[in-house]
């Protein structure tokens, strides 16, 4: 009964979003607030209905109701409860339902917003309702999670152990909130084109949505990367896998968008760029959804879905994005802004930023789709992997990062480049010194890695120096610095944190990739293997039984090769899941400050002496912590920025007369 209620709720949600689309369009054309109000409420009702539907699906998973085809295909009674619930969104139909939930929910929030001009709001609600309708139709008619089986099987079919992991369980919801958050930017952009008006007021609405979506996406991608690192057992955290790239594209576009929106909000400039990037970001989100589900790309991430449904997604993408870009092409001249700025200015730097990020996105797009395109046109099969991206993407981003710290030092409209560089000279000196030091100290000597370290330091120091500049640290008494610091808008702190976070990430990525050491040996009990400054000894191996697996569990002692410091015991497992016949590894991680000592248990065998041995792989990943700390800092910076000023502005009906006073 609950399941069928969910099924009905899904359909109700679809029809309500159709109602919303129709009423919003009519309300906008004829300027009828009653109809428009009904449309916004319809979006809210649609969202609530989907919540009911999703709750019903989760209920089916919790009770292991195998009469629901989706549950029978993707669950098992032996799964721990947390993973039964997470299983609801770990498959195509369930995750699509989650996508629709976030889409309608954000549409509802848009509908409830106050302070937007009538025309803009109603148009935006209409666009969002059309998007909801398309995706809900796709869900209800082709990928309905509530399809029932008349003959319910006795047991579910899936117990995929890889999915039974906390990080992987919460990674999709975060990712989807990011992807779908850009849909609101998309709707606002299309609405602005319809209204033929892009001004700072519009920018003020787009920026928070872009920032929030981007921050959520950062955490989602970071979490996925961290999961790959500690779960897959090979020490990698980014593989330029097509599905990873599909999530990276909206991130890049979103990063460009949020910066472009800042310019539009402050000065009304870059109107065309911001609108274009809004459309692009959500296009990339939809493209990502398509790529993962269509079977077009080979990847460990891809959902197994038939190509027909993939084609339907492609059609939705084509219609929505196609229409938006056509409208953009037609209306671009009408929205051109009057605002001017010198090439060397904060706006100018942000234009460069847009350029670099967009080019980077094009690079990733090319690299991901080129094999497909080439195969489709000439039949030749090629692979595009990390070497390509390292050769093309890395230099582009490196140049962008070199330029980045100068941006915040330039004034709006016309900036003083010499002055900015003057104020940054110490930061530059320190960065170069750091690079030199790294080159000398680290072994083996790698010039490129040292340069990368210098780049990371440059970004971090640039952020610190900028805050120091604004608070007149070192030049004014401490009390004044503290006072200035307290009065510094949160947006400035957020910016510094985010830019520093990027630097931290680059430091971690460069050092870990450049200096990591790996060693593998078949060890008998009490055998040792060493990598870098660490060595590991296999103490014992036990058989452990888990709720749905059997594991060979090794207890190993990690110690420094030169004997200093403390020894620590780690546990590494190789788990075997009988129901599906799969084996997974649980990596033994020893967190040593910034570094990770990473131990993996491998296959059993025999030494020449006839003893039982196990292959033990030891990785030393220096500064690995920074790889994941960086994105966290970036997301935090985004959050801090979001908290700025939005709360200061009062724009209710009673606040007409209130005039904003500066500083």
């Amino acid at each position: 009964m609950i399941v069928e209620l969910g099924s009905f709720a899904l359909i109700l949600s679809l029809v309500l979003s159709v109602l919303g689309a129709v009423m919003a369009t009519w309300g906008r054309i004829q300027r009828r607030p009653v109809i428009a109000g009904a449309a916004s409420a319809a979006m809210l009702a649609s969202a609530l209905a989907i919540v009911v539907a999703f709750a019903a699906l989760v209920f089916a998973y919790v009770t292991s109701d195998f009469s629901v085809a989706n549950v029978a295909a993707n669950s098992h009674t032996d799964k721990p409860m947390f993973y039964k619930i997470a299983g609801a969104w770990g498959n195509h139909e369930g995750s699509l339902l989650l996508w629709c939930l976030v889409l309608t929910a954000f549409g509802a929030v848009l509908g409830l917003s106050r302070g937007l001009p009538f025309g803009l709001k109603t148009s935006a609600v209409a666009v969002q309702a059309v998007l909801s309708t398309m995706f809900l139709s796709f869900a209800a008619f082709t990928s309905n999670p509530f399809n029932r089986l008349l003959e319910a099987p006795v047991q579910g079919r899936s117990l995929n152990p890889l999915l039974q992991d906390p990080a992987l369980a919460i990674h999709p919801p975060l990712l989807y909130m990011g992807y779908v958050g850009f849909s609101v930017c998309f709707s606002l952009a299309v609405a602005a084109l319809i209204e033929k008006r892009v001004d700072p007021a519009w920018g003020r609405w787009v920026r928070p949505w872009a920032l929030a979506s981007w921050a959520l996406l950062t955490v989602g991608i970071g979490l996925g990367s961290f999961w790959a690192y500690y779960e897959l057992g090979w020490g990698g955290w980014w593989f330029w896998d097509p599905v990873e790239n599909a999530s990276f594209l909206p991130w890049l576009a979103g990063a460009a968008l949020l910066h472009s929106a800042i310019v539009t909000e402050r000065r009304g400039a870059l109107a065309g760029w911001t609108v274009f990037l809004s459309i692009l970001a959500f296009t990339f989100s939809m493209l990502g959804a398509f790529l993962v589900r269509s079977g077009v790309l080979t990847s460990v991430h891809a959902f197994a879905v038939d190509p027909e449904r993939g084609m339907m997604l492609l059609a939705i993408l084509g219609i929505a994005s196609g229409a938006a870009f056509v409208l953009f092409a037609l209306r671009a001249p009408a929205i051109r802004s009057m605002a001017t700025f010198a090439p060397v200015s904060r706006e100018g730097m942000l234009v460069l930023n847009n350029l670099f990020l967009t080019t980077a996105a094009v690079t990733v797009l090319l690299g991901t789709l080129y094999p497909l395109l080439l195969e489709a046109t000439t039949g030749a099969t090629i692979s595009v992997g990390p070497p390509y991206f390292n050769a093309v993407f890395a230099p582009l981003m490196a140049v962008a990062c070199v330029i980045l710290p100068a941006g915040p030092f330039l004034a709006w409209k016309r900036g003083d480049l010499k002055g900015a560089l003057q104020r940054l000279r110490f930061a530059a000196l320190l960065a170069v010194a750091g690079a030199g030091l790294a080159f000398v100290l680290f072994d083996p000597k790698k010039a490129l890695a040292a340069a990368g370290i210098g780049l990371g330091l440059w970004l971090i120091l640039g952020a610190i120096f900028e805050v120091a500049e604004r608070t007149r640290a070192m030049r004014a008494p401490l009390a004044e610095t503290l006072r200035r610091g307290r009065n510094l808008p949160l947006g400035a702190w957020g910016m510094a944190l985010a830019h520093a976070g990027l630097g931290v990430f680059i430091l971690g990525a460069v050092v870990e990739t450049g200096f990591k050491v790996e060693a593998a040996r078949a060890l008998p009990l009490k055998g040792e293997v060493a990598a870098g400054p660490w060595k590991v000894r296999l103490d014992e191996v036990n058989i452990v039984e888990g709720p749905n697996y059997l594991a060979e569990q090794g207890k190993l002692t990690v110690a420094r090769a030169d004997g200093r410091g403390r020894e620590k015991t780690v546990t590494a497992e190789r788990r075997f899941f009988p129901a599906g016949g799969q084996t997974t590894t649980e990596v033994g991680l020893d967190f040593r400050g910034l570094d990770d000592v990473y131990v993996v248990m491998g296959e059993r065998g025999q030494t020449e002496a006839g003893e039982q041995s196990w292959v033990v792989r030891l990785y030393w990943n220096p500064w690995a912590r920074l790889i994941f700390l960086g994105p966290l800092m970036m997301a935090l910076g985004g959050l801090v920025s979001l908290l700025d000023r939005r709360l200061r502005v009062g724009a209710g009906p009673g606040a007409r007369r209130r005039k904003e006073v500066g500083a």
Binding site: F239, V300, P343, L550
Partner: protein, 159 residues
């Protein structure tokens, strides 16, 4: 008794993992450290042909181990990196290398982004050159009008 059961479990673990995948001997690294380093570098560029977008450096598949052994062998024989790559392409096709070839067909792939960056950068630069004259400050009339409109009372509201 317990030992019997433990052995039984162990054996089951081995038996069933043996079913999942043919047993693979652990990798035998090359004796020469420099050669082994070369091998490791190559491994990251070679695609495991049965996996989903994984390099043989990362893949647990049996054929990946075979390919690793093959590459090590060829390095030990004294072949250059280039020769090894060419040999692999001869066996498996362009598909086996993660670095796409540099041909007419892949020109767009390799040069596209740089050309885009340079082209767009140039276009922006040209546009920046043609700078509009600086907007003159608002004169008194405009200031008054603006002020009136912003602070408008209900009567003077409609423009």
């Amino acid at each position: 008794m317990r030992r019997m059961l433990t052995l039984g479990l162990l054996a089951a673990l081995v038996a069933t993992t043996a079913l999942a995948e043919p047993a693979v001997g652990p990798d035998r690294p090359l004796a020469d450290a420099a050669q082994e380093a070369r091998a490791r570098e190559l491994f990251t560029d070679i695609r495991c042909v049965v996996c989903q977008h994984e390099a043989i450096a990362d893949s647990p598949a049996a054929i990946a181990a075979d390919m690793r052994a093959l590459v090590r062998e060829q390095i030990a024989e004294g072949q250059s990196d280039e020769a090894i790559r060419r040999d692999l392409v001869r066996r498996y096709g362009d598909y086996v290398l993660f670095t796409p070839p540099f041909r007419w067909g892949t020109l767009v792939l390799w040069l596209g982004p740089f050309l885009l960056a340079i082209g767009a950068g140039t276009a922006l630069f040209m546009r920046a050159r043609r700078r509009k004259p600086e907007e003159a400050a608002l004169d008194e009339r405009e200031e008054a009008e603006l002020d009136a409109w912003i602070k408008a009372d209900d009567e003077s509201g409609q423009a």
